[in-house]
C-alpha cells in the first residue's frame, strides 16, 4: 500500500472549480466587509450620499458571496458522493475518512428526515428545525454522539487506540502500515502520534470518553444544583444564606486551582474524591424520593410500593457506584460484596467526574435559586399554596416544570463547558490515565512536539472545538425558538 494523498483522484477533478469558487467567496466577503466599514465611517462623518453608495456595495457583495458559497458546498457534497465509487487507494484521505463515518452519515440523514417531516408535532425539539443555527448545532452534536456510539461498537475506528506501531511514530496523515495482516486497515488515516498510535482511532475513541462523562457530569451537577437551589430560593432565610455562602466559597476558587487541589495523585490517595462521590451520589436518591413522595403523598397505596421499589434500585446503583473493593481496600467503601456489585468505575474516571460535578453545581445552584425567586410569587404558585399543597410539591411539580426553558438552554451550554473542563484536566495530565484517548490528554501529548508535528494535537483540538461549538449553537437555537413562544 502506498501513501495516500489528501483528496485523491476525485479531488483532482474538483481542484480548479474549488479554487475559483473559494477565491470568489473570499473576495465577496472582503468586499462586503470593506463596504460595511465604509458605511459606518460615512455614517460617522454624516455623509449621506457616501453612506448610501457604500451600503449598496456592501449588500450587493454580501448577496454575491452566497453563490460561490453554494458552489463550495455543492463541490464538497459531490466529492463525498463520488468518492464512494473509487477504490480505497484512489479515494484519498478525506474520502476514506468520509467512508469510515458511513454509519454516522446514514443515521444522521434518517434522524433529520424523520425530525423535519414530523417537526410540527415535536414541540420545542421540532421548532429547532426552523432555525438554521439550531440545525447546524444539532447536526454537530448528533454527529459526535453517533460517533461515540458507533465507535463503542468498533465500527468507525480503524485500529486499536492503544496499539503502537513504532515505524509510524509521528508519521504524516495517510501513511501506510509497514506490513498488513488480513483484515487490518492498511493506513493511519490521520497519521501516527508520538508513540506510533493511530490519531484517527484515538480521536474517535476519545469522543466516547467525552460524550459519556460530560453530559452525565452535567446532569449530576444539575441534580445537586436543583435539589439545593429550589429550597434556597423558595424558603429563603437562613438556609439560603448558608447555602449561598457555600456556593460563593466554591465559586471563588479559580477552577484550575481546585483541580490541582482535588485531582493530584496524593489527594486521590487519601480518598477525599471518593468520599465526595459518596456524598454527591446521594443527591439523585434524595431528589427522586422527594419527587415521588410529594406527588403521591395522598395516595399511600401507590406511593409505598413505588417508593420501596425505586429506593431499593437506587441504593443498589448507589452502592455499586461508590463501593469498589479493588480501589479502596480497608476503607469503609469496600463493603459491598463483589457478587452483587454491578460495575466498578475506573478510579481516574470517577475522580474527573466528581471534579466536574463539583465545579458546576454551585453555578447551577445559583441559576436555580434565581429562577425560583423570580417565579415563586406567580399566581399558579399562590393557587397551589391555597390548595394546601406541600412546599416540595410546589417546588418540584409547579416551579421546576415552569422554569424548564432557561434550564434546558443552560444545560446545553453547560455540557460544552464540562467538555472544556474535561479537556483542561486532560491538558494538565490530571485524573485520567496518560494513555486515555480523551481529547484533552491527546492534546497534551501532542503539544510537546507541536511545532514540528501538527496532526496529533490539531485533530483532537478540532474535534473538541466542533463539539463545543455545536452545543453552543444548539443552545442558541433553542433559546431563540423558546423565546418565540
Amino acid at each position: 500500500m502506498e501513501q495516500l494523498t489528501w483528496f485523491g483522484a476525485p479531488g483532482a477533478i474538483f481542484a480548479w472549480p474549488f479554487y475559483i469558487a473559494a477565491g470568489l467567496f473570499f473576495l465577496a466577503v472582503a468586499a462586503s466587509l470593506v463596504g460595511y466599514f465604509g458605511n459606518v465611517a460615512a455614517a460617522m462623518a454624516g455623509a449621506d450620499g457616501a453612506k448610501a453608495a457604500t451600503a449598496k456595495i456592501s449588500s450587493l457583495a454580501a448577496s454575491l458571496a452566497k453563490w460561490p458559497g453554494l458552489v463550495i458546498a455543492a463541490i464538497i457534497v459531490l466529492y463525498c458522493v463520488l468518492s464512494i465509487f473509487y477504490g480505497a487507494q484512489e479515494r484519498g484521505i478525506a474520502g476514506n475518512v468520509f467512508m469510515r463515518f458511513g454509519p454516522v452519515w446514514i443515521t444522521m440523514i434518517a434522524i433529520f428526515a424523520v425530525s423535519i417531516a414530523l417537526k410540527k408535532n415535536l414541540g420545542l425539539y421540532g421548532k429547532l428545525f426552523q432555525s438554521p443555527v439550531g440545525m447546524i448545532g444539532f447536526a454537530l452534536v448528533v454527529f459526535w454522539v453517533l460517533t461515540a456510539l458507533f465507535g463503542a461498537f468498533d465500527m468507525i475506528v480503524t485500529h486499536d487506540p492503544l496499539d503502537q506501531i513504532a515505524r509510524l511514530k509521528n508519521d504524516p496523515p495517510g501513511s501506510p502500515l509497514p506490513s498488513t495482516e488480513d483484515g487490518e486497515y492498511p493506513w493511519f488515516l490521520l497519521g501516527g502520534d508520538n508513540l506510533g498510535r493511530d490519531v484517527f482511532t484515538r480521536m474517535v475513541s476519545g469522543a466516547g470518553v467525552v460524550i459519556t462523562i460530560a453530559p452525565l457530569a452535567t446532569f449530576f451537577g444539575y441534580i445537586v444544583g436543583i435539589t439545593l437551589g429550589l429550597p434556597a430560593g423558595y424558603y429563603g432565610g437562613r438556609l439560603d444564606t448558608i447555602l449561598s455562602f457555600l456556593a460563593n466559597l466554591i465559586l471563588a476558587f479559580p477552577v484550575i486551582l481546585l483541580f490541582y487541589l482535588l485531582v493530584t495523585p496524593e489527594i486521590v490517595q487519601t480518598g477525599i474524591p471518593v468520599f465526595m462521590a459518596a456524598v454527591f451520589f446521594i443527591f439523585p436518591i434524595v431528589f427522586i424520593t422527594v419527587l415521588l413522595n410529594s406527588r403521591y403523598k395522598v395516595l399511600p397505596h401507590i406511593r409505598n410500593p413505588l417508593l420501596a421499589v425505586v429506593l431499593v434500585l437506587a441504593f443498589w446503583l448507589y452502592l455499586s457506584t461508590v463501593s469498589d473493593t479493588t480501589r479502596n481496600p480497608g476503607t469503609f467503601l469496600d463493603f459491598f460484596p463483589s457478587g452483587i456489585d454491578l460495575f466498578n468505575i475506573p478510579g481516574g474516571v470517577l475522580v474527573v467526574f466528581i471534579a466536574v460535578v463539583f465545579v458546576n453545581s454551585p453555578t447551577i445552584f445559583r441559576i436555580m435559586r434565581g429562577l425560583t425567586l423570580d417565579v415563586k410569587n406567580r399566581d399558579y404558585v399562590a393557587a397551589a399554596q391555597t390548595r394546601g399543597e406541600t412546599p416540595w410539591y410546589i417546588m418540584l411539580w409547579e416551579i421546576l416544570p415552569n422554569v424548564r426553558g432557561p434550564l434546558i438552554v443552560d444545560f446545553c451550554l453547560r455540557i460544552g463547558y464540562a467538555t472544556i473542563l474535561l479537556g483542561t484536566l486532560g491538558f494538565f495530565g490530571l485524573g485520567l490515565p496518560p494513555e486515555s484517548p480523551d481529547w484533552g490528554s491527546t492534546i497534551n501529548a501532542g503539544r510537546k512536539l507541536l511545532s514540528v508535528y501538527l496532526h496529533p494535537a490539531i485533530t483532537p483540538a478540532m474535534a473538541l472545538l466542533s463539539l463545543v461549538l455545536g452545543l453552543n449553537l444548539l443552545a442558541d437555537g433553542l433559546r431563540e425558538q423558546s423565546l418565540k413562544d
Partner: protein
C-alpha cells in the same frame, strides 16, 4: 451605603479565611507531607524516618494549629536538634536563627520557603506576579475594545447581516478554549513544518524581552476566548437597550441613528459588560495558567503548575492566596462599580 461596603468587606474576609483554610488543609494532608519528607530527605525513608523528619519541623501538629502558625497568629514550633541546629518554619536556609522572631506568617509578611525553587516564596511570587500582570494587561488591552466594538455593532441592529456574522464569530471564539486556540495559533503562525512561520511558538524569552515575535501569540490566545464571551454579553445588553421606550422616543423625534447609538444607548448598554469584564478576570486566571504552560511563559500560572506538580506546599499556598485574593477583589470591585454605574441602585 457605608454599611453595605462594610458588610461586603466583612464577608470577603471570612470567605478568604475559609478558602485559605481549605487550601491549607488539602495541601497539608499526610500523603503530601510524606512526599515532602521524601523529596527533602531521601526517597528510601521508612515510615518511621518520615515521621522523625516531619515531627521536629512541626508538620505533625493539628491542622488548625499549623494554620494559625502559617497565618502568623500563633508562635511557630521550634525544635533544637542535638547538634544545635534550630528547626522551624521561620528559619530559612542562610538566616541566623537568633534573629528570627517567634511569629512568622502571612501577617508578618513571611510567605514561607519554596522547597523546589529554593527561594523565599514571597520574593518569587512578586516576580511572577509582575510577569503575569503584564501578560494579563496586554490581554485585556486587546480584548476589551475589540469585544465591546463587536458587541455594540452586533447588538445595535438585531437580526441584521452584521449581527449574524459577528455573532457567529463570537460564538466560535467563545467555544474555543485556550488549549485549542493556542494549538491552532501555533500551527498557523509558528509551526516550523507548515504554516506562515511568522512568530515563535514559545515565550521563554518574553520574560526579559517581550517582542511581537514571542509575546503576541500568548496574548491572542488569552484574548480570543474572552473576546467571544464579552462580545456576546455586550450584544445581549445592547439589544435589550435598543428595544427600550426611550430609544423609540429618540427615533420618533428624528435623532439620527448614529447619535441614538452613541448618546442614548451606549452608556446604558455598558453597565452589564462592565460587571462581566471585571468578573471575567478570575476566568482569565485559568486561561493564563493554560497559556503560560503552553507557551512556557514563567508567570504565576506556570508557577502553579510547577508547585502543584512538585509538591511545593508553601509555594502552592502562596499562589492560592494570591488567586483567591484576586477573585474576591474583582467581586468586590464589580459590586461597587455596579452600584456607582447604575443610577437606579445609586439613588435608592
Amino acid at each position: 451605603m457605608a454599611l453595605f461596603f462594610l458588610r461586603r468587606f466583612g464577608v470577603m474576609v471570612i470567605t478568604a479565611i475559609c478558602l485559605t483554610f481549605v487550601v491549607f488543609f488539602l495541601t497539608n494532608l499526610y500523603p503530601n507531607l510524606e512526599k515532602l519528607a521524601k523529596t527533602q530527605g531521601n526517597f528510601r525513608m521508612s515510615e518511621e524516618e518520615v515521621r522523625n523528619w516531619l515531627e521536629p519541623r512541626g508538620y505533625l501538629q493539628s491542622t488548625p494549629k499549623k494554620y494559625a502558625e502559617w497565618l502568623g497568629v500563633a508562635p511557630s514550633m521550634r525544635t533544637v536538634t542535638e547538634d544545635g541546629r534550630v528547626l522551624s518554619r521561620c528559619v530559612t536556609p542562610g538566616v541566623d536563627p537568633a534573629t528570627v522572631g517567634d511569629y512568622c506568617g502571612l501577617l508578618q509578611g513571611y510567605w514561607g520557603y519554596s522547597s523546589v525553587f529554593k527561594v523565599p516564596v514571597g520574593e518569587q511570587l512578586w516576580k511572577w506576579l509582575g510577569l503575569t500582570g503584564y501578560l494579563m494587561m496586554w490581554a485585556l488591552i486587546v480584548t476589551v475594545p475589540i469585544a465591546l466594538v463587536i458587541g455594540i455593532l452586533a447588538g445595535m441592529r438585531e437580526g441584521s447581516g452584521t449581527d449574524r456574522s459577528l455573532s457567529t464569530f463570537s460564538i466560535v471564539t467563545s467555544a474555543t478554549p485556550e488549549y485549542v486556540s493556542g494549538v491552532v495559533l501555533i500551527a498557523v503562525f509558528a509551526s516550523s513544518a507548515v504554516g506562515l512561520k511568522w512568530l515563535k511558538g514559545s515565550s521563554a524569552q518574553a520574560m526579559e524581552n517581550p517582542t511581537i515575535d514571542n509575546f503576541l501569540l500568548p496574548v491572542l490566545t488569552i484574548a480570543l476566548f474572552n473576546i467571544g464571551y464579552i462580545a456576546r454579553m455586550t450584544r445581549a445588553s445592547m439589544t435589550e437597550v435598543m428595544t427600550q421606550q426611550y430609544i423609540r422616543t429618540a427615533r420618533l423625534k428624528g435623532v439620527n441613528f448614529t447619535n441614538i447609538v452613541i448618546k442614548h444607548a451606549l452608556r446604558n448598554a455598558l453597565i452589564a459588560p462592565f460587571t462581566v469584564i471585571v468578573l471575567q478576570i478570575p476566568y482569565l486566571l485559568t486561561g493564563v495558567v493554560i497559556t503560560e504552560t503552553l507557551f512556557n511563559y514563567k508567570g504565576v500560572g506556570w508557577g502553579l503548575v510547577q508547585a502543584a506538580g512538585n509538591n511545593d506546599i508553601e509555594m502552592l499556598l502562596g499562589v492560592s492566596v494570591v488567586s483567591v485574593v484576586i477573585v474576591l477583589l474583582t467581586q468586590l470591585i464589580s459590586d461597587i462599580g455596579y452600584v456607582f454605574l447604575n443610577p437606579r441602585i445609586r439613588i435608592s
